[in-house]
């Protein structure tokens, strides 16, 4: 039983973590909102002044903003579709009896441990390069014109790279979930004459729903903030074709030194993330009770 004494001790023990996170959350957040209402350029120190919602107006009127918003959603959605569908199929395959299953698992999980800058550079140079990349070599070998991935399909290429990094994560989590599936239930269904497809649809998939929810939640948190992959492959280009919200704010503030405009973008990014977060937190909260 918790005593009065241990309760107050508990409160003291939890306070550093809570306090630090509170500061970490509130101070920068308040400053970002404050900066977003100023005309504030690092190249013109001393000229800061209050401009109300002008930065937001400029930001929304900038066509790059809508492109970046759409790109952000396409990037998150595209990677989620590839990794969740691919992850389910791969997890089912890896759950079958296989010789050397441990080694295959190690091979599949490996990309998750590769730092984003390395995977982006390797894909960019050694695979997608239109002159000397492996894909170009392959195209030439079968008599096709090499395709310049990062120029003609920049966003799709980045989705591919990021999906490669996250497929292992989805697979591993879904595989863990599949392995906890009661095999007797499967056998009973099989004996009752359920086809493999209906067994998948009515038993495996519902069993996986919780794990899929978790995969979507965690990945969305990270995917909304994809940055390094864009920085080292396309720099957001050509034009703004592969600029997401994160990269747009970075370009505004740290490349163009426009603190006010960048902050307005930051606030928009926070609002967007919150909309997603509300849905996802509700889902994980429900799952944690179960």
């Amino acid at each position: 039983m918790a005593t009065q004494h241990s309760r107050s001790a508990a409160r003291i023990m939890i306070s550093p973590a809570v306090g630090l996170l509170l500061i970490w959350m509130i101070v920068p957040l308040v400053l970002t909102v404050y900066f977003s209402l100023l005309r504030y350029n690092l190249l013109m120190p001393g000229t800061e002044r209050f401009v109300g919602f002008l930065n937001y107006k400029l930001f929304f009127n900038n066509p790059a903003f809508f492109t970046a918003l759409i790109n952000t959603l396409l990037l998150v959605g595209g990677v989620l579709i590839v990794t969740v569908v691919g992850g389910i199929l791969l997890a089912i395959l890896l759950d079958q009896p296989i010789w050397g299953q441990g080694i295959v698992r190690i091979l599949v999980i490996a990309p998750f441990f590769v730092m984003p800058t390395v995977s982006a550079l390797v894909w960019k140079n050694m695979f997608m390069n239109p002159v000397s990349g492996l894909f170009a070599e392959f195209s030439k070998a079968v008599g096709l014109q090499p395709f310049d991935f990062l120029t003609h399909a920049p966003l799709a290429s980045i989705i591919g790279i990021v999906a490669w990094q996250w497929l292992p994560f989805a697979t591993l989590i879904l595989l863990t979930a599949i392995q906890s599936l009661d095999s007797e239930q499967m056998e009973a269904a099989e004996m009752d004459g359920a086809s493999p497809l209906s067994r998948f649809w009515y038993i495996t998939l519902p069993h996986l729903s919780r794990a899929v929810t978790v995969v979507i939640l965690i990945q969305t948190i990270f995917l909304l903030s994809v940055f390094a992959e864009i920085l080292v492959t396309t720099n957001g280009g050509p034009g703004v074709a592969s600029t997401n919200l994160t990269y747009l704010v970075y370009a505004r503030s740290l490349l163009n030194f426009d603190v006010g405009g960048g902050s307005a973008g930051g606030v928009v990014a926070i609002i967007l993330a919150n909309i997603v977060a509300v849905f996802l937190m509700r889902m994980i909260g429900k799952n944690l009770d179960a």
């Binding site: 939890i14 400053l31 296989i98 190690i106 490996a110 989590i173 919780r210 940055f227 960048g262 977060a277």
Partner: protein
């Protein structure tokens, strides 16, 4: 009970799984192979897979021409430093939530998770300016602070799910025997919690090692960890594939090995205990 499966079917699954596994791993394998080629061979057409003159000259070039060890050491200091600092802050918090839960515990946990939802770019500018004013830009201590705060929610959550599995009856028994709170933590809880703490440490070192938003934005040359060092290869001149591969291989090898050991904890840690 394992179902009996014909050898033929098993062979089919095995072949399919190995082909897919190999395809997923191939970019890493190709990077490792290329790192042992000369620059000319690295872009030769058609590419050679195994039959070329294996050389380690790229590794010595990378080590000679760049401050590879400094960046490596930065990565070690930043990832270990932020993880250890995070553990020091998180262990008491997770302990109290797991063993002295109040009606607020679940809300506190969810709130902590929600701080992870704050997109880093939303707070990039204030952090950048604060760091500039305090002289923390391009410093290891600055990155340790930021990465500690970034990963703190994950550390608390992971520890919480591990601590939660330690049966409370043991604590009650030790209390009956007259153990003080301090004794209880040192002699009863800690030994039972070590495996969980070790897994948390491992996973967070990996996450911090690969973190590539704050490390790229808050460092220049001095404190840059390997993530930022590798990014400097993005606009090179002349022949460089083999050297890029050598630098990449050295940057990912330690974490790849650690990661393979941690795959079980990874699931639990990154799903906040929701999938075990």
């Amino acid at each position: 009970m394992a179902r009996a499966v014909s050898t033929r079917r098993k062979a089919g699954y095995t072949i399919a799984a190995w082909i897919i596994g190999f395809a997923i791993f191939f970019p890493i394998l190709w990077t490792i192979i290329t790192s042992f080629k000369t620059e000319a061979e690295a872009i030769s057409s058609p590419p050679s897979f195994l039959f070329f003159n294996w050389t380690t000259e790229n590794y010595s070039t990378v080590l000679e021409r760049s401050n590879y060890f400094r960046h490596f050491w930065n990565s070690v200091v930043i990832s270990l430093g932020s993880t250890v600092l995070g553990l020091i802050i998180a262990i008491p918090a997770a302990w109290s939530m797991a063993f002295v839960p109040s009606k607020h515990t679940k809300n506190v946990l969810m709130w902590m998770l929600s701080t992870k939802m704050l997109p880093p770019v939303g707070v990039l500018i204030p952090i950048y300016l604060i760091f500039r004013d305090f002289g923390l830009l391009d410093s290891r201590i600055g990155l340790v602070i930021v990465l500690t705060l970034i990963n703190l929610p994950i550390i608390v959550w992971m520890l919480y799910t591990y601590f939660k599995e330690i049966p409370g009856e043991i604590l009650e028994a030790s209390r009956m025997d007259g153990a003080t709170l301090r004794d209880e933590i040192i002699y009863v809880l800690t030994p039972m919690a070590v495996p969980g703490i070790a897994s948390t440490l491992l996973l967070n070192v990996i996450l911090a090692w690969n973190e590539a938003f704050w490390t790229l934005n808050l460092t220049a040359a001095k404190a840059a960890p390997l993530t930022a060092f590798i990014a400097s290869y993005s606009s090179p001149e002349g022949l460089f594939y083999a050297k890029l591969s050598a630098a990449s291989t050295m940057a990912i090898a330690p974490i790849l090995i650690l990661g393979w050991f941690s795959q079980k904890q990874l699931v639990r840690g990154l799903t906040f205990g929701a999938v075990k």
